[in-house]
């Protein structure tokens, strides 16, 4: 048996995107020794790909904005399934977190009077997104990375955590392997912060990288924590659809924020058709009004014109494009046209430089002259580890979570721009929560050696099989299953097929074989990631089966309307002795003073299914 490399820390943070970095910075600032463990090189996490901006009610461009409006937008966008306290903390604290980034060196685009500029985004009443062209995530991760590095974090790059250990029900440590050498590492710690991001690699068409395999959700689940809202998976309306190699790659919502227009193959501007009646009054009545809004937005001026219909919420726009394509009005490569070419070319290149280059170099499309072709792509999971809003504490003592891996903030659908702010608001809170817990906990928890050895044997098993499938084949089958049966539109029959197929896939995954050495072996890495993907896929399918209604990003063809009773529960996933258990748990009730912010009586949720067609 090889000698185990062992590290001791007060707090281990898993994941080095915005949430993980912010959590690690906070825990370290509070005096804890912090280990930051990430699967890729530092600075390559998914945050780097966030384009449009970070939502915060700074009220620099639209002075009417305030945290109350941001809170209301977030709750409405989430079809009121959000944890009210998270939506409140987020709206109240996001402006301070943006100013903090600036004070740590981030350089946001400016207003004419020299303050942080803000742009419009879907579902946000006012222009609210602080941004740096279309590379806001890069600016944010570089700022946090440099802050963290100079604060003395111990960073373990290209290191994958495979198991959390508990001692008497409390977090005690984690086992990981180094990707470059294949050697195992044991972390002994008092607290763990999960900040591993999402699950997109369960699907073939996704904006997510190889890293997004549901690791944090699965680690927490295995350790006994509760997952909630796993049925709510966001399909971003605008991914690239052509050429094949780039299918799914994100086209920022910033294109629509800058005036991008969606049309079908008949040239119809179809989004008006899909606006929910309850919110139609918030959008421009015709092309003229939409254009007046865009012209004012471009100049940073106030206007009485209402926003273009393309700035409806993401769930709604994704279903609209999907439906247009299904009904035969799609583009040659199966999407919709997104057109910004009517704007001055120099402005397009200046405000959307990454998009300009992405289309020019990968698709031979000049977006200053031609429309883009776009379609829905798996992008973000609203569900994840259930956390206590103020501290990020999961239901296992010593376990914390933040960012996409956690749940509650976004409810049934996330508004664009609310993710980057989520990362820093709740990354900071989870880091502080973990630090306080680690400081208060008495005695060093013990990692059970037998469990460590069992995990190592389990990890090495695929090398020892004389025969077996390639993990890539099983992964491909999983992606096909999820795309086909647990996609944008769902029904009972499909979901039941998915649950059956996932059981078969778990069986297949337990028999995969890998060859070669342990040194940087992607086949071996995938064999492990598959296990996590299967846990989250099962959680998504089972939760979707139980939620017999349509709400936010979850659209059931057999239950096309929201159900008021289901609007009061979260689907909660736990690990039972005989496998996964899913059951509704009550949604925390919003206090009266926050309810009063919604002046007129609000429907619990909007009818979401505009059309009933499906593949």
């Amino acid at each position: 048996m090889e000698q185990l490399e062992t590290h001791e820390h007060d707090v281990i943070v898993i994941g080095a995107g915005g949430a993980g970095l912010r959590a690690a910075i906070e825990a370290s600032a509070l005096g804890c020794s912090v280990g930051l463990v990430c699967k890729s090189l530092l600075g390559k996490a998914h945050t780097v790909m966030a384009e449009g901006g970070i939502a915060a009610a700074l009220a620099h461009v639209d002075p009417q904005d305030g945290w109350q409006t941001h809170f209301k937008d977030t709750m409405k966008g989430g079809s009121f399934l959000n944890h009210w306290r998270m939506a409140q903390l987020h709206a109240q604290e996001a402006p301070d977190r943006v100013r903090e980034l600036e004070q740590w060196g981030a350089l946001f685009d400016r207003t004419p009077d020299g303050r942080i500029l803000q742009r419009a985004f879907g579902g946000h009443t006012w222009k609210r997104l602080a941004h740096v062209g279309d590379r806001t995530g890069l600016e944010m991760i570089r700022t946090l990375q440099d802050r963290g590095v100079h604060q003395g974090l111990d960073v373990h790059m290209e290191c994958t955590v495979t198991r959390l250990f508990t001692d008497g029900g409390r977090i005690a440590g984690a086992l990981a392997y180094r990707r470059d050498s294949g050697r195992f590492v044991l972390f002994r710690c008092k607290a763990v912060v999960i900040a591993t991001g999402g699950v997109g690699k369960a699907y073939h068409v996704t904006s997510n990288s190889w890293e997004y395999t549901g690791d944090g959700q699965a680690l927490a689940y295995q350790a006994g924590a509760e997952l909630i809202d796993m049925e709510f998976l966001q399909f971003h309306p605008t991914g690239m659809v052509w050429p094949p190699g780039v299918m799914g790659i994100l086209v920022t919502e910033g294109v629509r924020g800058e005036g991008g227009i969606l049309r079908n193959s008949l040239g119809e501007r179809f989004m008006w058709k899909y606006l929910p009646e309850a919110r139609r009054h918030e959008y421009a009545a015709d092309e003229d009004e939409a254009r007046r809004w865009v012209d004012a937005a471009v100049e940073g001026l106030q206007t009485d014109a209402r926003r273009p219909p393309e700035l409806s919420t993401r769930d709604n726009v994704a279903r609209a494009i999907y439906t247009e394509v299904r009904e035969g009005r799609g583009t040659p490569h199966g999407g919709a046209y997104l057109d910004i070419s009517y704007m001055p070319a120099d402005r397009v290149v200046r405000k959307l430089p990454s998009m300009y280059h992405q289309f020019m170099e990968l698709a031979d499309v000049d977006i200053t002259k031609q429309p883009m072709e776009v379609g829905p792509t798996t992008h973000y999971i609203m569900g994840g580890v259930r956390v206590e809003p103020d501290t990020g504490a999961a239901t296992v003592p010593g376990l914390f979570a933040a960012g996409e891996a956690s749940a509650g903030m976004h409810g049934a659908n996330r508004l664009g721009g609310n993710s980057l702010s989520d990362l820093v608001v709740f990354g900071r809170r989870a880091g502080a929560g973990a630090a306080r817990y680690a400081t208060d906990v008495l005695g060093a928890p013990r990692v059970p050696d037998a469990e460590v050895q069992a995990e190592i044997r389990d990890l090495l098993a695929p090398f020892e099989r004389g025969s077996g499938e390639s993990p890539y084949d099983v992964h491909g089958a999983l992606q096909e299953c999820m795309g086909k049966y647990v996609g944008i539109f769902r029904d009972q029959e499909d979901l039941e097929i998915a649950v059956r197929k996932l059981a078969e896939l778990r069986e297949r995954a337990s028999r995969v074989r890998v060859t070669g050495s342990r040194v940087f072996n992607p086949g071996w890495h995938l064999a492990r990631d598959l296990r996590n993907l299967l846990v989250v896929s099962e959680a998504i399918a089972c939760s979707a089966l139980l939620r017999k209604e349509s709400r936010g990003a979850h659209s059931r063809l057999d239950f096309p309307n929201p159900d008021a009773a289901l609007g009061k529960v979260n689907m909660c996933v736990t690990r039972g002795p005989d496998g996964m258990k899913v059951a509704p748990t009550p949604l925390p009730e919003m206090p009266a003073e926050l309810k009063a912010l919604f002046d007129a009586p609000q429907p619990a949720a909007e009818p979401t299914l505009v059309t009933g067609d499906k593949a």
Binding site: R115, V132, L138, V155, S209, W242, I249, L362, S517
Partner: protein
């Protein structure tokens, strides 16, 4: 070497890739034939090989959209991001040779040990706000700094820089990536730290002789030499080598 052409793809258009397989001690170029789809990039071909022919082929990648800077390699001898290298830009029929970056030690196949870069970054004096910072500035004040902050840390400029690649002076020279980073800090309107001494003594800026190879390979089109390195060189010269200023400092005792 092994021919990984799968059954059933014989009729499709194919590309031939010769991919470096091995570690720091030894390696060989292995030939793979890969079916081509429209718009395919080198990284697609590498991932196809991984999924169909060599599951243990080591490669770094994340975003596949030239935003993360992970998939750096040398394609037909030219440092490039594999996710931006379209197969149809290479001569049809000729093999495409894919090798790891030469300036960094190979770990396995296309993956190199780039940890030295992170050590350099850690030594750079961090952003330090001016005491009287009012946090207001004009967009035109930061256009140039924002250019430096576009860097995705692909390290292709480090790979191509002859001070690092040919002369192996990693212990004396920070490399273009980190001169760009220092430029981003030095020209930040609110930064109050002074990195001129660091540039001269530890970043070794004098070793750059402005061949502009770094600028040519930058996938973000950052004008590294002209906009970042030359202005920093000027600062160092003004501080340490200007005879008039030197005399003035000697007389007044001011820096």
């Amino acid at each position: 070497m092994s021919d990984a052409r799968p059954a059933g793809h014989g009729a499709a258009r194919e590309a031939t890739l010769r991919v470096y397989r091995g570690d720091a001690a030894r390696g060989v170029e292995v030939e793979y034939r890969v079916p081509i789809e429209t718009g395919m990039v080198v990284l697609d071909a590498i991932l196809w090989i991984q999924a169909h022919a060599a599951a243990d082929l080591a490669v770094r990648w994340n975003c596949k959209a030239a935003k993360c800077g992970s998939c750096s390699a040398e394609v037909n001898g030219k440092p490039a991001l594999m996710c931006k290298s379209r197969l149809d830009r290479f001569p049809a029929g000729a093999p495409i040779v894919v090798r790891p970056m030469k300036t960094f030690p190979v770990i396995k196949d296309l993956v190199t040990d780039v940890s030295w870069n992170y050590e350099v970054n850690r030594r750079i004096p961090p952003f330090q706000p001016k005491k009287d910072a009012d946090w207001r500035w004009q967009q035109s004040d930061v256009d140039r700094v924002q250019e430096f902050r576009k860097c995705i840390e692909c390290f292709l400029c480090q790979d191509v820089c002859h001070v690092l690649r040919t002369h192996e002076l990693k212990h004396q020279f920070a490399g273009p990536r980190f001169l760009v980073r220092i430029a981003g800090l030095e020209m930040h309107p609110m930064d109050g730290a002074d990195r001129t001494g660091f540039l001269k003594d530890q970043a070794g800026i004098g070793l750059c002789n402005i061949t502009k190879c770094c600028t040519e390979v930058c996938p973000e089109s950052i004008t590294i030499t002209d906009n970042a390195i030359i202005p920093l060189k000027e600062r160092v010269v003004d501080r340490f080598y200007d005879p008039v200023l030197g005399l003035w400092r000697a007389i007044t005792g001011k820096s």
